[in-house]
């Protein structure tokens, strides 16, 4: 195994072990997720009280969509931005600068390891929830396309990570980027399909959104699983995801380079 891959593999493995070690963190996270699912369930009960369906979603489909999104989220929803933000704010960032590693790659590899653990738990919990809620769902899964769907979810992890990291890197210029991260999270939750399927938006708006990274994080991967026929072509989505990853990669590296010139720390 080349030394570089071996190094980041070790970091990811440590992240995996940390994920296992801090199981409490995961289960507290479940409370947060449950709150979100519950709020959404009540919201959509109110919406579907006066209307049977929106697009090709009725209440039951919307809730199924939600559960599938939760599974994708356990892998693609990242918290790396808080680490980056804290490191820059407290000056701990300096400790990484003297090490023979890329700071961003370190954070991403570590988060990947943790998210593998989270997704193992997530598939178990939400998979059973789906089994209880809509058992027939498993009969209609596009099993033959599973590797491509898995690839799309991996891409969604990188889109999400790069996007939120770019927000966290604003810490170079802000007092603290914590609030900004939450605001961004709120924006992302609306436009990524985390709160409602993008199909609920007017068609023109859906078209505009398709040129942003947001729907490629949760909505399109979820559509590939639930409605493979309407997902707009798996290869088309995978291609778009790759382009987004490339653009985001360039942006965060440029931000990092500029931010490094601004960064100051003493006493470390």
């Amino acid at each position: 195994m080349p030394a570089l891959i071996k190094k980041y593999y070790s970091i990811a493995r440590t992240g995996f072990q940390q994920g296992l070690e801090h199981r409490v963190d995961f289960f507290i996270g479940i409370i947060g997720w449950s709150m979100r699912i519950m709020i959404s369930a009540f919201l959509f009960m109110a919406v579907f009280q006066s209307r049977a369906s929106i697009g090709n979603y009725n209440f039951s489909d919307t809730m199924l969509y939600f559960l599938v999104v939760q599974i994708i989220m356990t892998f693609s929803f990242v918290r790396v931005e808080f680490n980056v933000c804290n490191d820059i704010q407290t000056g701990d960032f300096s400790n990484y600068l003297v090490k023979p590693i890329s700071y961003l790659s370190y954070q991403i590899a570590s988060e990947l390891g943790k998210n593998i653990v989270r997704s193992l738990f997530g598939v178990g919990i939400f998979g059973v929830a789906i089994l209880l809620y809509r058992p027939e769902f498993y009969l209609h899964l596009p099993y033959l396309q599973a590797p491509l769907i898995l690839l799309s979810i991996i891409f969604s992890f990188f889109i999400s990570t790069f996007l939120t990291t770019s927000i966290a890197l604003l810490s170079f210029w802000l007092i603290s980027a914590h609030r900004v991260i939450y605001m961004f999270f709120a924006i992302q939750s609306i436009f990524s399909g985390m709160m409602i399927p993008i199909q609920f938006f007017p068609e023109q708006f859906q078209h505009i959104l398709s040129y942003t990274p947001f729907p490629y994080i949760f909505y399109y991967p979820a559509q590939m699983i639930i409605h493979p026929g309407t997902a707009g072509g798996i290869f088309h989505i995978l291609g778009a995801q790759m382009i987004i990853i490339l653009i985001e990669f360039i942006i965060i590296n440029a931000m990092f380079a500029v931010g490094m010139k601004k960064y100051e720390a003493t006493g470390r």
């Binding site: 709020i39 919406v47 210029w173 914590h178 605001m183």
Partner: protein, 261 residues
């Protein structure tokens, strides 16, 4: 009490100076706040494109609830949210020791030390949202009722502060968790929608046990003159109860805290 107030105003003065040192924060906060509010307006517009009312609440009323929700968020963002979010990490690294030895309320020092006056610009966005809500309602706001609603909204911070304080106090028992902040954020989402959407047990829980549904709803109901006297009395009773419970829980948590070096 007077001493605590003096400390509070000193913290404000200090944090204003910090804000002035980071002027870029003001601009970025304003831009992101506009995007945040606009995103949620789009979300509400999408919902009301498909339905006439949400649990019997009209679009204008929903927007007014949302305006009070953002006003609430603006104030909490400015005065205490950041301190709560950083508390877990500060506790684990022993930073809170120095606060505990100071001659002032430990909760105030812990949870109000990092004020963010760069978020003050967000209030301008919220004022615009209020204007949009009243325009959608097609009515002129009764200034007295609106001020009363804003007053209730300010008192509601005692509820939210108490809930956040209890969540933060959990850090004394949990070894390491970064997720509590995310849970706190999710909790605020309960108050963003009309409380009429919560039925049966959820309505009881989010009104009386974890009264987050009333944070923005009650001020909006007051401003719209649809709040009942009973609901306002219950609100004050819940506020006082939660404050006492959270204070006792904090004291209990402190007895578990130990640090070295």
């Amino acid at each position: 009490m007077i001493h605590d107030l003096k400390v509070f105003f000193t913290l404000i003065a200090f944090n204003i100076k910090v804000t002035l040192a980071y002027r870029a924060s003001l601009v970025i906060s304003l831009i992101l706040n506009i995007l945040w509010v606009v995103s949620f307006i789009i979300f509400i517009e999408v919902i009301f494109q498909n339905v006439v009312t949400l649990g019997g609440v009209s679009k204008g009323e929903t927007l007014l609830i949302m305006a009070f929700y953002y006003l609430f968020t603006n104030i909490s963002d400015i005065f205490y949210r950041d301190s709560f979010e950083q508390f877990g990490e500060k506790m684990r690294t022993g930073y809170i020791d120095m606060w505990l030895t100071k001659p002032a309320s430990s909760r105030m020092l812990m949870f109000m030390s990092n004020m963010r006056f760069d978020y003050i610009t967000a209030i301008a966005v919220t004022v615009a949202l209020f204007a949009y809500a009243f325009r959608t309602l097609n009515s002129t706001p009764d200034i007295h009722l609106l001020l009363f609603g804003i007053g209730i909204s300010l008192i509601a911070h005692v509820i939210f502060f108490s809930v956040l304080s209890m969540l933060a106090t959990l850090n004394f028992w949990l070894e390491k968790t970064d997720t509590l902040n995310m849970v706190a954020w999710q909790l605020t989402q309960v108050g963003r929608y009309p409380r009429a959407i919560y039925t049966s047990w959820a309505r009881i829980v989010f009104t009386y046990v974890l009264p987050l549904a009333i944070l923005a709803n009650l001020p909006a109901e007051v401003a719209l003159k649809i709040a009942t006297t009973e609901s306002i009395i219950v609100f004050f009773a819940i506020t006082i109860t939660l404050y006492i419970v959270s204070f006792l829980f904090w004291k209990k948590g402190l007895t578990r805290y130990s640090s070295a070096g």
